[in-house]
Amino acid sequence: MLSSLLLAEGIAQLGAAVGAGLAVIGAGLGIGKIGGQAMDAMARQPEKMGDIRTAMIIAAALVEGVAFFAVIIALLCNK
């Protein structure tokens, strides 16, 4: 009985850690793609650098927001 409780808690912590790691992969891929395409665009049209920079930061904040959903769920799993 006690061992199955400990096992469940261990699995919960494992799940939380793996979930947070997967969220980081998702956020890294998404923001990396945004940054890369922003660099391409800035190189093509240097006079638009300010606008592109602003748009890149806004898109990165939105993608990061989604990744944070996963972090919150991982925190809830762990508690």
Binding site: T54, I58, L62, G65, F68, F69, V71, I72
Partner: protein, 367 residues
């Protein structure tokens, strides 16, 4: 600016004070999770720091309404060991009657004030105490009012043709104009002036509260936007403003959208999805702001705690890691200030976009 280099040095100095003071201590086991949760969660007292062994704490009033009526007292009157010693705040006879104490870890209402009846059941009384978050809210509200009403007074006393103001008023003027021209007006167009008061309040409230939460000393240092109830309230405000300003075409597009008939006739699939959409958009706003700010504050605290952990591992590790931790802390704090601004901007921009989508007009829908 003439004093830019000196200002930069001062800021860097402030950001190194916290890790440097931490590096002086030596200790045993450090419970990182407890420290993190302690700093980030709400509590009935404001623990500022520890000088040596004595904690410096500001006790805050507790205002509850239980079965025995209203109780108002300072939080240092709550007994530390209520169950073992048998003494509770508000009890009439030893071991009998209702009592108030803070529920210990493992209980359903951990760290909140509970009222315990004769048979030992714990219930939550009606609790409107002035907790740490409430005090931080008051302080930040005063700061926000000062930041906004002083430039407003300048605007009332001067005409439009007068030369631009300098100093703090000029900075606030520039900031507010930037938010209006670059965030609110592109989204709302002609109706920007009508919704600008709400959206500007949103932006500056979130920005001021975020930045105050980053400061490691009072009056800052309180975690307010990392509290999901605050962001929930902001999201509810956006929900109300959006839906109460919805035009007829907006509601028509939700309940009877222009999609193929089989998506709306026998089983109203699209209308149900659209109704869910009304609630998920502010929900995303709430979780995004909450998670970003909570994670930011947690990272700032955790990086400082690295020093404590290293200190408990010996002198050499402590010295070597302190430099690394100080550099990392400065970088993370600067990143956090940027994140504060970005999160306020994203919240305001998305609220403006939602309001503009609600103000749907027929000639736009026909395009």
């Amino acid at each position: 600016m003439k004093y830019f280099k000196r200002l930069l040095f001062l800021i860097a100095l402030f950001m190194t004070i916290t890790p440097a003071i931490a590096a002086e201590e030596e200790g045993g086991d450090i419970d990182l999770q407890a420290i993190l949760w302690g700093h980030v969660k709400d509590s009935y007292e404001w623990h500022i720091t520890d000088i040596g062994e004595t904690p410096i704490v500001i006790h805050l009033p507790v205002i509850v309404h239980g079965k025995t009526g209203w109780h108002v007292f300072m939080s240092n009157e709550i007994e530390e060991e209520p169950i073992e010693s048998g003494k509770m705040k508000g009890y009439k006879e030893a071991g009998k009657g209702t009592g108030l104490y803070i529920a210990p870890a493992g209980s359903l209402y951990e760290n909140k004030i509970v009222e315990v009846a004769d048979d030992g059941t714990e219930t939550r009384p009606f609790d409107i105490s002035i907790t740490k978050s409430v005090v931080v809210l008051f302080i930040d509200a005063v700061i926000l009012l000062l930041c906004v009403l002083i430039p407003a007074r300048w605007c009332r006393r001067h005409k439009a043709d007068d030369p631009a103001p300098k100093g703090f008023v000029g900075f606030m003027n520039m900031f507010i104009t930037y938010v209006y021209d670059d965030i609110i007006e592109p989204a709302l167009g002609k109706e920007a002036a009508k919704y600008a008061p709400y959206l500007l309040t949103c932006f500056f409230f979130i920005f001021v509260v975020n930045v105050m939460g980053l400061m490691p000393f009072p009056p800052g240092g309180g975690n307010l936007t990392g509290n999901i109830t605050i962001t929930f309230f902001l999201a509810v405000c956006t929900l109300l403003v959006t839906n109460f300003s919805g035009t007829k075409h907006y509601w028509k597009d939700i309940f009877w959208p222009e999609v193929p008939w089989w998506l709306k006739a026998p089983v109203p699939l699209m209308p149900i999805i659209e109704v869910f959409g009304i609630f998920t958009k502010p929900l995303a706003l709430m979780v995004r702001l909450f998670a970003n700010m909570l994670a930011g504050h947690a990272i700032a605290i955790a990086l400082t705690c690295i020093i404590f952990i290293m200190a408990s591992m010996g002198a050499f590790a402590c010295g070597a890691m302190t430099i690394f931790s100080v550099m990392l802390s400065i970088f993370m704090m600067l990143l956090e200030v940027l994140v504060c601004f970005i999160q306020a901007m994203v919240f305001t921009m998305l609220s403006a976009v939602f309001i503009s989508m609600a103000r749907l007009h027929p000639h736009e829908a026909a395009e």
